[in-house]
Every structure is written in structure tokens, then in C-alpha cells.
Amino acid sequence: MNELPQQLVNGLLLGSMYGLVAIGYTMVYGIVQLINFAHGEIFMTGAFGALTVWLWLPGGTSMWLALPLMIVGAIIVAVAIAVGAERFAYRPLRTAPRLAPLITAIGLSLALQQAVWAWYPEAKSARTFPQIPGGPFEIGNVTIQTGDIFLVLAAPISMAILAYFVMKTRTGRGMQATAQDPDTAKLMGVNTDRIIVIAFALGAAFAAVGAVAYGLKYGEINFRMGFILGLKAFTAAVLGGIGNIYGAMIGGVVLGVAETLATAYIADIPGMDKFGSQSWADVWAFVLLILVLLFRPQGLLGERVADRA
């Protein structure tokens, strides 16, 4: 069992990547009650945005110089697509029955996948993502892979920026107000249309940071990467309590740790030796989702304060 600290760290890192993507689901849901199923694909386009910047840079550019530019590229692409989707696909359906924007989201998700498959050079199979040079880092008897160093820094910084924005800025307070009562928010002078755009844009920006983390972690990206990861991040959002931004991060971490521990230890349980391999990881993640939906549907940080008097 002395590899347990290592497994926990692995789970924490994987989970914070889920959490970065989950923020987008939860923010958009919190404000317009829409499950943006295209968010996984927005994450995917962010990864290709980062790769594009890398390919533009002259060969041999230092990764430490390239990485910030790649993050900016990822954010620009993901935010542009998310804001465009809000404006042209979701906004016209804002007063339509719930099912209409949901189906639109699924359609948009397929369209984005196919667009990258068809038009991005050589994207019909996986494309190699540049790597941070240098060996893995040892802290005590825990090893952090080079590709994961980015997450160690990016996840807490992103979370701090988000918390500051939502709690301390005027726009952030307007966002909270819009989530709780959109009509009354308008009476206070909050431009709720603008707040909705900002929610989509912020969610996409964090997903883009997650996408860079994904590329560095796995070394390659492909047009389908947003599907399973999007589902996992959605699970994380539900797990934490959808609509709650801290819940998204906590849900992500819980999911990542649970998935990692299940993969590492379930085979040790007598009679379960068949179910411990990496290919079962997704199964355990979604089993966790089903359990949460059965026993705590409001999620770990679900709201308990009375909503309306």
C-alpha cells in the first residue's frame, strides 16, 4: 500500500483537469439552466488552438516561451467558439422549450468534431502535442510527471482567479444575481445578456487551460478527445452540485481520485481481479455518477438555503 500517496496525487491531478472543464458546465447551467453538451468540443478546439500556435512558432522555440502563447491561443479559439455558439445557436432558443437548446448542443458538438476532423490538417488521426522538457519530479516517494507540472500550477491559479472574479468584482456579483433571479437582476441594472456571454466565455477559457493540460499530460490530442472528457467533467459538475463553481472543482477532484483509486485497487478485492484495468476507469467514474444521482442528487455542495420566500 505504500504507493497510495502516489495514487492520490495522480487522482488529484487528473481530477483538477476535470474540474477546470467542469467549471464551464456549471457556470452556464447556473445562469441559463442549459447543459451545454458542446462544452467538451469547445475544450477540444482549445487544444487545437494551442497546437496551431505551436506549429506557427519557429522550430526549436523553447517550450517555456511557447507555453504562455499556446495558452493564449487555446483561450482565444475556445472563447470565440463558445461566444459564437451562445450568440447564434443558443440565444435564439432562449425562450424555447428546454429540449430545443439541448438537442442544439448535441448537434453543435458533432458539428465541431466533424469540422476539426475534416478541415484541421492531419487531424483524422491523433496529433502529437509538444512536451515540456526535463525529467519527472520526485517529492518524497511521489513522482510528478513532467506533463503534470503544468496542472500543479494552473489549477490553483485558475481557481483563485475565478473565486476573485465571482466574489469580488462587480461583474461577478452581477453574475451571482443573474443566476439567482434574472428578472430582479435586470431591475438592479445588470445587463443579463452580457452576463450570459461572459459565463460562456469564462467557462471556455478554463476549458482551454484544461485542454493545454490534457495535451501536456497525454502527449497527443484528437478530434474525439472532448467526448469522454466532456462527460467526465459533466459528471464532476453534477457530483459537486451543478451551478456551484466550487462544487465543480471539488467534484472534479473527487471523481479523479475515485477513478484512480478504483483502477489501482479494485483488482485486489477477491473476485474483482477482472475489473481493475485502465479500461475500466470510465466505468467506475460513471458508477460514481449513478450513485450520487441516486443518493445525493443535489451533489456534494448542493444548495440548502431556502430559495424563495
Binding site: 444575481a177 428578472d183 430582479t184 438592479m188 443579463t192
Partner: protein
């Protein structure tokens, strides 16, 4: 002199059903004007149209000489029209203080905002004692105080109050009405919707009785208070 608010032949519809069928009234600066009438008379619809949440199908709204017809709701408050909605609609998961700050959402004068928060606490001391508490945990009466305090945070020229005494205990209702009287004495212009016609008319300079989308009777508060038909229909006398 033109009135602060002029409503002319205002018509509002939900789909094909007209809820407000061409009403006209004025609110002069410094006045308290009340709209009374039964549920479904169109009073709340009128206020929601004045603040831009509903679009009229006809008529004119002029506030401070400016037409409000093309102004989106989030800009109405910056013109000086504050709306404390029916059912209070405080932001339940935010603290009392953050609710008040949202009332000042478009203001940039930080010291002025702090001063007005203090003034809201002076007006309603219970809010000051619980400033960090989530607003959803307050009682109905305290939520009403918060809703009024929040509306005042925009430094309005006209304060619109929709059913401030709804669902309150008699003691709390008196307290709220006393506060409205206090605001009146400071010169605040108020457009008041009330089911408690007695209390509303005693306070009001002008009153209008609404029935199924029309104003059927207008007069000073005192006139209406002594009007035979009003006494029968709204003051529970026979």
C-alpha cells in the same frame, strides 16, 4: 410643469390577452400615488412594464421627460426609476450587505454607496445587525425591508413598491407602512401598489382604482377613502 412620470393610454398584453387596456396617470415629483384593485387588475403588469421587463403593445411612458419605450430594463434604473418587485425577490444566497450593494450596481461613487448602506441600516436596524447573513434566511417582513432598502440604493427619483405588505403580520405591515410614510416625509416620490387599500389611500396624494386592466376611478387618497363604492369593494364595508 410636467410630471415626473406620465403614462398615457398604456396597453400591455400577454399573447392575445390584454392585461392593461389603455390606462393613463401621472406621478408628480414628491407625490405618493397608489394603484389599488383586486388580483388580476393589471397593477403588477403596469409596474413591470414601467421598468421595462414587459414591452407595451401601445401607449406612451415618459419619465423625467424621456420616453421609456425603447429602454432595456437594465438601463431603466440608471434613469432614476427603482422597482421593489412583488414577492420581494431578494437574492437568497447572497448576504444582506451584498443585496444592498446590488441595488447600487450601476453607481461608481464608493463613499456614497457606503453612506447609503449605513442609511439603509439606520432605516432598518435589523438589517444592520444581520448584514453578513444570507438573505434567504430572513423572515418575510425582514426580506421586505431588504427589498425596499435595496431599491433605495440606486438613489431613485421614483420608488415603485409592489405589494410591500403582502403576507406580513399586522405588526410588520404597520412597520412597513410607517417606513413608507417616513420616506414620503423626506420628499421621496413613490408609486405604491397595495392590497391594503386603507393603508395605501391614507398615505397617498393620488389614488387610482384598477379593474380588469382599466382605471375605473381616480381621486385624491382622501376622496377615494371616503368614496362609497371603494369602501364597499376594497375596504370590506357594507
Amino acid at each position: 410643469m410636467t410630471a415626473l412620470l406620465e403614462v398615457e393610454d398604456l396597453r400591455v398584453a400577454y399573447g392575445k390577452i390584454e392585461a392593461v387596456k389603455g390606462i393613463s396617470f401621472k406621478v408628480e415629483a414628491g407625490q405618493v400615488v397608489t394603484l389599488i384593485g383586486t388580483n388580476g387588475a393589471g397593477k403588477t403588469t403596469t409596474l413591470r412594464t414601467l421598468s421595462g421587463l414587459l414591452k407595451p403593445v401601445g401607449g406612451q411612458i415618459r419619465f423625467n421627460g424621456k420616453s421609456l419605450k425603447k429602454i432595456p430594463p437594465h438601463q431603466v434604473v440608471s434613469l432614476g426609476l427603482a422597482h421593489s418587485p412583488e414577492g420581494r425577490h431578494i437574492f437568497p444566497r447572497m448576504s444582506i450587505e451584498d443585496n444592498l450593494r446590488l441595488g447600487a450596481f450601476l453607481r461608481n461613487d464608493k463613499p456614497g454607496i457606503e453612506k447609503d448602506i449605513q442609511r439603509a441600516y439606520d432605516l432598518f436596524p435589523i438589517l444592520g445587525e444581520r448584514r453578513k447573513q444570507a438573505a434567504g434566511t430572513l423572515s418575510g417582513g425582514e426580506q421586505q425591508m431588504l427589498a425596499m432598502g435595496r431599491a433605495l440604493m440606486s438613489q431613485p427619483k421614483l420608488l415603485m413598491l409592489d405589494e410591500p405588505s403582502m403576507g406580513l403580520s399586522p405588526i410588520m405591515m404597520q412597520k412597513i407602512m410607517a417606513t413608507i410614510a417616513e420616506l414620503k416625509s423626506t420628499g421621496m416620490t413613490i408609486l405604491l401598489i397595495e392590497q391594503n387599500a386603507q393603508a395605501a389611500l391614507s398615505l397617498a396624494d393620488q389614488g387610482h382604482v384598477m379593474e380588469v386592466g382599466n382605471i375605473v376611478l381616480s381621486g385624491t387618497g382622501q376622496d377615494l377613502l371616503h368614496d362609497e363604492s371603494v369602501r364597499k369593494a376594497y375596504l370590506g364595508e357594507d
